[in-house]
């Protein structure tokens, strides 16, 4: 596990700016279960070992929305919670117990008009220690213009 991203000043952001990557994990079955209880998604495929194997998986796998939640934690540490206006993820590969996830974020666009909102688009990715991509995504933040 590594430290949360330091909050950025949105007015100083440019396309290409990146947050310091953050590692989560190694993820445990308890992490999966804690998330399942918190979210209400009790699909047994994520905690019932016998069922997961009976269906053809080597073991239980992580809840995609847990990994999405970790990425949301990461990007809101960087740019704040109040100003998020869109958060999108596409799940790529499964995540297994013991995996470490490394999250990255890069500003892809900043739209700035005098007196108007600052709109920041961010590309997101979450990679497993094997090099596999667990998910990719994007987010949009809107910041009110600074007081004159």
């Amino acid at each position: 596990m590594s430290a949360p991203a330091v909050r950025a000043d949105p007015r100083a952001l440019c396309a290409g700016d990146r947050a310091k990557p953050r590692r989560f994990g190694p993820l445990t079955r308890t992490d999966f279960v804690r998330y399942q209880g918190a979210s209400g998604d009790l699909n047994p495929i994520h905690h019932d070992e016998e069922l997961a194997r009976a269906v053809g998986y080597p073991t239980v796998f992580g809840v995609g929305m847990l990994h999405a939640g970790l990425v949301a934690t990461y990007v809101t540490d960087w740019l704040g919670v109040e100003c998020i206006r869109r958060f999108t993820v596409r799940f790529r590969e499964q995540v297994w117990p013991g995996d470490e996830l490394t999250c990255s974020a890069e500003v892809t666009d900043v739209t700035r008009e005098d007196g108007a909102e600052l709109i920041v688009q961010v590309a997101l990715a979450c990679v497993v220690q094997t090099g596999a991509t667990a998910l990719t995504g994007s987010a949009e933040f809107r910041f009110a213009p600074a007081a004159a």
Binding site: F24, G40, V55, G69, F87
Partner: protein, 134 residues
Amino acid sequence: MSYRMPVELSKVREFARAVQSRNPAHRGKQPTIPPTMLTSARLLWEPREQNAFAKLGFDMQRLLHGEEEYVFHRPPPRVGQVLEVQTRIDETYEKPGRRGGTMRFGVVVSEFRDEQGTLVAEQRSVLIETARTR
């Protein structure tokens, strides 16, 4: 048809812990939800008879989550709010599986309104039923 989801202090605290967020925005008297917490509406508050996922009829054991998107039209909801949620199946489609058979896709959309009836957030999920392999 719709249902209500109260945004509750204990659940915000529990969810923030589950997604490893120590952001002070999720603490205090009227904390803001972690952005992906809206997923809990369908899972914890949706009445059985309104369950869109059940209407898709996908096999839980062949279920994968493809995509998820949240749009917030204002700052994310806070503890103390009661949201009105309407969920619908937006579309369904099929694609051939990479190893034969048919993959089914279901797009489920939820709209969240505040106590004034203002649309404050939307959720869009793409769920996948993988092809039968045996």
